[in-house]
Assembly symmetry: D2
Homo-oligomer: 293 residues x 4
């Protein structure tokens, strides 16, 4: 018989991931700050609980997918959460700093439970289609325990060892590189446009030759077509992630000039009221600086 | 019977391209400033000529592959070159600015010949293996005429229309994006390294998932392994190309902050005596700024 | 009769400021985390107290000069501090974010006391010589009350109105501009040096003509002479201040590309083990990138 | 009797400088590409000449004040110019690269005349009021010869030795630092404005304390008041000067990240149609990125 799993945080990413766990046959206890978001899952058989602590059971597994370091901290510090989880494993899928992950892991260890980091790459649609890439790190035992569960929500799990912060470093590197790719294509397509070329044509060329990776292909086409809406990943969240990258850069004493520039581009986007567009709208900066409409 | 083609500029890229034209059965007249570089081709049947003008014949096709705007200008302005080419086509494969290409095309038109831009993507080894990507632009007639020849030197030719500068814009965009990719991976791998992760592992992960394009995969592994030598493309030439990108950015009134930063990284590389390493050694900047050896 | 003033934080800046209050005839209660630092002031008549709360008296005035937002927060939140200060004024001289200042002011108001921001410009020697510039902001009444005291520690007090965060914004702007001035002179002197000129000569020329402000003159000469030690203001603290600038930039949605670049320069300085040099050593970045020793 | 001096280039700066030479009692031969600009000086006694060469006389002194490297080169290369100047001195006041200055000096030496660089700091009004700062470099003999003449057009001449490029390096450093000062104040005033402070008030405070140099005071007030028109120095010319700075940076192998950023700001200004505003309008970039109107 499959065990009952807890799932906290049913946002754009959490909901489809929890759905896949259900679909894989796991029993689920779900919690969300806004309770109505639990309904679709309850209709499919999940049990909605009223407190964070109730989401888990002694020795069990609880997933969390929340916004930032502070939200993760609030869960870990919430009444009874760590006490109830004793002997269990917390699978933390949120994009947080390695520092926050390490601190959370320490608290779990002190309380007799385990914490593994399992942030994911992919947008909500990829989550729904079980096409996420999962990055995993933390103690070996709990990693082994949760790996089968992770295979139910993504197409592959990559293991980054014992440091609970490691998977978060990888996740932040990835988001940084996606943002950098968007900016570099924005500058290139703008240069092309101002020389009379069609950005779509350039995007197609590079997407089929040198830069034929799916992420680059998709963002390249998005930037060329200026399709900022509906957002796959909101610009305001992109800014938050770049702030996490820079906080980690500061902590690690590793200057990242591209990241600094991207943070300024995203901050300008938010200042100009574009926080709810897709984060690829950071490309508007390069276009506007070139006098394009 | 195949026509006799001229080929000027037998450097690291020109020599293997000319070799492939020979191998495809074309008769070749070759010219190089340092004449001994013509020998291997002469041994395979090419005819070495003593002046730039002699490389072409009236109504014929002449390829050039030289270092920069100035070198291209010197060929076009050289004694008898345009006169002798009358009715023929100049296939200019060099990485030059669109401005230089447009000026050269104008001079050819005035002299009764044609100029098409055909810069290529790929390193010397790709050239030797006929794996180059060719970008083509210029008047339609001459483009049609030279396309079959280009299929003898690369794996694909992409057509960018009538503007003789267009293909050069694409080429410069590509080199800019390669440099940007190197920098972004350098910053990411450095952040990972200072968090105790193995850059090779991270490079492998991203090369198989989000950033699975060949160029990114190769440069990602190169940066992780710090393999700057032997150079596939010298850092000093990379700096030259970024200067061409910025000159084009200036001309087109399209600010490119990433390109500005890359220019400074490459310039620092040259200032520190790294001009003869592979241009991916621009990655040393991020590592050194983080206090890594 | 003069009132008894509390003074918390006897570091490089706090000690000479407290000394000037004593010299002006005020009775002083002093507190420092490392108690021995109170000795020189006790010998001159100050009273050392054992807790933060004891530094103040009901309705009295207490000065604080500490490292950062967290240290200020710890004082305000410490046992009995706000209770004991009721009816009094907290003169906060620390370089903190406007956000921290506003939060602290709110807590004081809730507890029936006042908080004014009074950060200062000047190095320890200027503090000793009563040559500080004081920026003042907060409620009008308490501002009027403390202005005479501030005239005992500086050569001038500038008033920035009711917002308790305003004076901190000015202070952060000033430190940002000093760092920017150092970098701009570092780049200029490096360009001059690599053209065979003497940086000292250039520094002298500009210090007497276009850039004849004392701060620029001094830093210009320091950068030219590479006098990073002893530190007037440690590079690690400079990095902390730039982080405060960027946190304020983020909060206010005002991108600051120069500040981002300075943060990276200072972070590189710390990464390379220069945190204890003077912060003008950020100038080493420009010189090293140019291949200078 | 005073000698007859040639003066070529009667633009916004050249005209008042030539006027001061006249006022000091010198006889003047003047040349300008648009001849009508010679009229006001001819009315005051100058002689207008029809060719560049005629502006000088054998063994005489000729001043030039033109736009850029190309314009200077055109004068030096013009028919009969060097031949006629034999034994004389060319006082080159234009803002050009040190490379152009060194090349011009070489040509003069080869032709038996001398070239000294004498670029100036100050806007047209300062020129009219004889308040320019002159930077002088070149061979010692000719420097001694022209120094008295320079004292008729400025308030001080600073000597930078034998290298004819040296004075131009100093001039470019100065213009770079002015642009950097504008940007740093733009960022600071924007941060202040978004925190509810009055930029004018902040500008006044810093202009009277830390940054009390005239240039900073004036530009600080200009940026605060957004007074971009009429232009004292056009933004398009500012861009040209930053390009000269970066060309010199490239030549000297001295990366200048602030200069790169300023170039992008100015280029964005031109792209947005602000080339005819004062160059302090580069400050609009920081304000707009913060969402200010």
């Amino acid at each position: 018989m499959r065990e009952k799993i807890g799932f906290i945080g049913l946002g754009a990413m959490g909901a489809p991931i929890a759905g896949n766990l259900l679909a894989a046959g796991h029993a689920l206890r779900v919690f969300n700050r806004t309770p109505e978001k639990t309904k679709p899952l309850v209709e499919r058989g999940a049990e909605a609980v009223k407190t964070l602590a109730e989401a888990s059971e002694p020795g069990g597994v609880v997933f969390t997918m929340v916004t930032d370091d502070a939200a993760l901290h609030d869960i870990v510090a919430s009444d009874g959460f760590l006490e109830r989880l004793r002997g269990g494993v917390h699978v933390s899928m949120s994009t947080v700093t390695p520092k926050a992950a390490r601190a959370a892991a320490k608290r779990h260890a002190d309380a007799g439970s385990d914490y593994v980091a399992a942030p994911v790459f992919g947008r909500p649609q990829a989550a729904a289609e079980k096409q996420l890439w999962v990055c995993l790190s933390g103690e070996a035992g709990p990693r082994d325990r949760v790996r089968p569960l992770l295979s139910d929500v993504g197409r592959g799990t990559s293991d980054f060892g014992d440091d609970p912060g490691a998977a978060n470093v990888v996740k932040l590197c990835g988001n940084f590189m996606l943002a950098a790719s968007i900016e570099m294509m924005a500058e290139a397509w703008t240069l092309a446009a101002k020389n009379g070329l069609e950005p779509e044509e350039i995007a197609k060329f590079f997407g089929e030759t040198l830069f034929s990776a799916p992420a680059l292909k998709n963002y390249g086409a998005t930037v060329a077509a200026k399709r900022w809406s509906p957002p796959g990943f909101r610009l305001a969240l992109g800014l938050k992630d770049l702030e996490l990258v820079l906080a980690t850069s500061r902590e690690a004493k590793a200057p990242m000039p591209f990241a600094s520039l991207l943070r300024d581009r995203l901050l300008a986007g938010v200042a100009r009221g574009r926080g709810d567009l897709d984060w690829s709208a950071l490309a508007m900066g390069a276009a506007e600086d070139a006098g394009l409409p």
